[in-house]
């Protein structure tokens, strides 16, 4: 089997995650979808590192994880405070982009 399939898989997962971001309103779920996308990328990285035979890909994936962790922490904190202020976790409710 050709490891390229891993890439196909990651692409698929990424797309699903993206679509989720677009159609879900619950901020937490949206967040999960973002995580899904990140993971898909990580998979791609890892596969690439295997293909090119060096570890840089894995390093990047590692950094991605770290950053993702940080991002999740902050993001969830934001969600919580949002929920406190306006008893809902819906993305649309929170959107004040239009004055």
């Amino acid at each position: 089997m050709n490891p390229v399939n891993y890439l196909y898989l990651s692409a698929l997962l990424f797309t699903i995650g993206a679509t989720g971001v677009l159609i879900r309103r619950n901020a937490i779920v949206v967040f999960m979808c973002i995580e899904l996308m990140l993971n898909a990328c990580n998979l791609a990285f890892v596969t690439f590192s295997r293909m090119h035979g060096n570890l840089d890909g894995q390093i990047i994936a590692f950094f991605t994880m770290v950053v993702a962790a940080a991002e999740v922490v902050v993001g969830l904190a934001i969600i919580v405070s949002l929920f406190r202020s306006r008893h809902s976790a819906s993305v649309d409710d929170a959107s004040l982009m239009k004055l």
Binding site: I16, R24, V46, G53, F63, A69, V80
Partner: protein, 280 residues
């Protein structure tokens, strides 16, 4: 031959089998993440997907990452998610009904197009030959990563450290609520109640039935309607009050009817009629 070489060049049929099975599961998990009504379920299915990804990492010779994936992601991050979900409301199932006109179709269309393009891109990129990680992982995957991290990527590494700290502090700052005045003592509260002249006695208890832990069941007022006051504020906010007034009345009816039957008063219709009425 050891897993190392195996991961390096050829991909054994075993891996192929593993890929096709677990890959399917992963995709299903992803879909579930997106389409489950309740956040908890989404979180769980995402966790499943992540574990499968961890396995794939291992299969791709990224042992360290595989472990980290399980420990950090599935172990820490997903748990964090669950915490928040609990905090925000487990049962708060948000309807999947779309509010923005055409959003869903647009989204699906974009997703479809995007996915197709991506796959096509990967497809026509000639990635047939590949040299495995045997050399890179020669003296241990972890050592290999470490050397890279602490030599080539040391600067980025430091920065990510700073980033993590910032994130932690940021999270605290965001969630921390500054208490402006001293918390009121019991005494002050009661005094205040008396002064305001409402709810001088403590709030009424919830209607507890020995059915399950039922703090979420409102107590009934004499006319049989449930009283919001009897349920705690958080539940009220989440709208997780269970209204059992109807069944209570039904049970009452049932009781009466049985009593009637025992007393050989057989006019079924009214009873049934009543029941239907009650069930309304």
């Amino acid at each position: 031959m050891s897993a190392q070489e195996l991961a390096a060049y050829s991909t054994s049929t075993g891996e192929a089998f593993q890929f096709w099975v677990l890959g399917t599961v992963a995709v299903i998990g992803a879909l579930a993440t997106v389409f489950m009504k309740r956040a908890v379920h989404s979180a769980l299915s995402l966790a499943g997907t992540m574990i499968i990804l961890a396995i794939f990492y291992l299969a791709n010779g990224a042992y360290f990452l595989g472990i980290v994936q399980i420990v950090v992601y599935t172990g820490a991050i997903m748990m964090l998610f669950l915490f928040v979900v609990m905090l925000v409301g487990v049962t708060a199932a948000d309807s999947l009904k779309e509010t923005i006109k055409g959003q869903r179709w647009l989204a699906l269309l974009c997703g479809l197009g995007f996915g197709i393009l991506l796959l096509a891109g990967i497809g026509n990129a000639s990635l047939t030959e590949f040299d495995g990680l045997s050399t890179a992982n020669a003296n241990g995957n972890v050592e290999g990563l470490a050397t890279l991290i602490f030599t080539k990527y040391v600067f980025a590494f430091e920065i990510t450290g700073a980033l993590l700290i910032t994130a932690a502090v940021g999270a605290m700052v965001l969630t921390h609520r500054e208490r402006t005045e001293r918390a009121k003592t019991q005494r002050e509260l009661s005094e205040q109640r008396v002064r305001e002249g409402k709810y001088v006695p403590p709030l009424p208890a919830p209607g507890v039935y020995a059915r399950h832990n039922a703090v979420d069941i409102a107590g009934l007022l004499p006319d049989g309607t449930p009283s919001e006051l009897t349920v705690s504020k958080t539940l009220r906010d989440r709208g997780q009050i269970r209204d059992v007034s109807a069944e209570a009345l039904n049970d009452l009816k049932a009781l009466e009817q049985r009593a009637e039957e025992r007393l050989e008063r057989t006019e079924i219709e009214p009873a049934t009629f009543k029941r239907e009425e009650a069930s309304k």
